[in-house]
């Protein structure tokens, strides 16, 4: 069933759950730290959750150097799509 959802939807659901924010706040441009109330610990946990949810697509773990660049919702979606298409 999860495969029926778009990557955007799945990313959004994780963010809503982990950061306890409203869906409407989770726009592509939204920054985890600046717009969604996350702190540095939240971002570590978010990356772990994305790795878990998208383990098929990204085929492994998100390297530290990549994780540091994923600061907005849109950047995460683009990253996963790029990995999935590769």
């Amino acid at each position: 069933m999860a495969d029926q959802k778009t990557i955007e939807q799945r990313v959004k659901e994780i963010i809503v759950k982990q950061l306890n924010v409203n869906e409407e706040q989770v726009t592509p441009a939204a920054s985890f730290l600046d717009d969604l109330g996350a702190d540095s610990l939240d971002t570590v946990e978010l990356i772990m959750a994305f790795e878990e949810e998208f383990k098929e697509e990204i085929k492994g773990e998100i390297p530290e150097a990549d994780a540091e660049k994923l600061q907005t919702v849109g950047q995460v979606c683009d990253y996963i799509k790029a990995k999935a298409g590769a």
Partner: protein
């Protein structure tokens, strides 16, 4: 304010909070205890079948995110949830407007005997099953035993003295006593203090069962915690928190606060005898009780009621009784003693917190909560008036509350009517 000597600076109680198996707030908690209701059942949260002891006084039908910000709840351990929510109740009960108060003059001292046991256990399992990269970044902030104090301070913006302290099952009483000293020496005007614990977990049960410390009367859970009874066979674990608002008398009076009573005396001592067994002569506890009563400006004969540590272990109840008889002499048989652990179970580091709430409600209501399940006192070792089975109406002016922890640490508190 700061020019006053410690002797002049009296400390009063102006707010109460409790989350326990028998009630999720102070009113329902106290009502259940006066009715003699046990909170002990077969453990629900995990399958207790493999364990020698299968009972607990669990806080059921209670979700942290109904009482605190869901994100904060998700980032913290169950022990913090209990303390945080009980602290919120106590602040509300006190009528303090913390936003209008000077936050530099308010501190928090909420202790936990064990800390974030759920977090510790669940993340160790993650490490073993999925490797180090999957361990939550919230593990350390959740499991450390000082985090409840830290989160309560963040909630209210109070920047005064703040830490957690640890003395196993005496933690809550030590926290309240040390908070009293903090006010007495002028470092704060208000302290949010008590104990919180959430250790009803498989690992905790395995470890306490290995010590043969827990009751194995699994076929009748509500009758398993039976302090001072001949058939007692160990303690039953409980979980929850008990929190007080302590305030300097002048601060409480200046804002027209409702004052429950005075926290008049506190003393700490150590058995210096054995890692887990209490001193068979009761010397350490006797020292704590004697000094606490003296600090309160009272004599042993002034104490009307003792809320005993009364764990329902063979040693504790016998040696605690001995210490009481040594200190109080003839008065020992005249005063009332009860162990509310017969109903609440043993909340370890939170015991001193909820039992302080009980001591204060006893003074307020003139009702002594009973020792239930005391069918046959263990004579001649346990021969005091333990208020068996049913609550008793009796005017109470001064209450002594005892707690003893592994490590031989003892704490006694004296609460006195104003």
């Amino acid at each position: 304010m700061l020019t006053q000597s410690a002797e002049q600076r009296r400390v009063v109680v102006t707010g109460l909070g409790a989350v326990t198996a028998v009630g999720h707030d102070v009113a329902s908690f106290w009502q259940a205890l006066v009715a003699g209701e046990s909170g002990i059942r077969r453990v629900q949260r995990f399958d207790p079948s493999p364990f020698a002891s299968q009972m607990g006084a669990e806080v059921l039908d209670w979700e942290a995110d109904q009482h605190m910000d869901p994100k904060e709840a998700r980032r913290s351990d169950r022990y913090t949830h209990f303390g945080y929510v009980a602290a919120s109740q106590a602040v509300a009960d006190s009528g303090l407007d913390l936003e209008a108060e000077d936050g530099d003059r308010i501190g928090v001292m909420i202790g936990s005997g064990i800390g974030g046991m759920y977090t510790y256990e669940s993340q160790l399992a993650v490490l073993a099953e999925r490797g180090p990269r999957k361990v939550s970044p919230f593990t350390i902030p959740s499991l450390i035993g000082n985090m409840c104090s830290g989160m309560v301070a963040i909630k209210y913006g109070v920047r005064g003295p703040n830490f957690g302290l640890v003395s196993a099952c005496a933690t809550g009483a030590h926290a309240i006593g040390e908070a009293m000293h903090t006010i007495q020496r002028g470092d704060a005007d208000v302290m949010i203090a008590g104990g919180s614990e959430a250790a009803i977990t498989p690992f905790a049960y395995a470890t306490f069962c290995a010590m043969k410390a827990m009751s194995e009367r699994n076929d009748e859970p509500a009758r398993a915690s039976r302090p001072f009874d001949r058939q007692r066979d160990g303690f039953v674990m409980g979980e929850g928190a008990g929190i007080l608002i302590l305030e300097s008398l002048e601060h409480a009076r200046a804002r027209g606060a409702r004052i429950y009573c005075e926290l008049a005396g506190y003393a700490a001592s150590c058995d210096a005898f054995h890692i887990t067994q209490p001193d068979p002569e009761g010397r350490g506890l006797l020292l704590a009780m004697s000094r606490a009563i003296g600090k309160a400006g009272l004599a042993p004969g002034d104490i009307d009621y003792i809320n005993a540590h009364g764990t329902s272990t063979p040693y504790n109840d016998k040696f605690e009784t001995l210490a009481i008889k040594k200190l109080f002499g003839e008065h020992a048989s005249r005063l009332a003693v009860s162990s509310t652990k017969s109903m609440t179970g043993h909340l370890l580091g939170a015991a001193g917190g909820i039992e302080s709430v009980i001591a204060i409600k006893t003074i307020e209501t003139g009702t002594i909560a009973p020792t239930i399940n005391l069918d046959e006192p263990d004579l001649p070792d346990c021969d005091l008036d333990y208020v068996p089975h049913t609550a008793r109406a009796k005017p109470v002016r001064a209450v002594l509350s005892n707690n003893l922890g592994f490590g031989g640490q003892n704490a006694s508190l004296v609460f006195k009517a104003m």
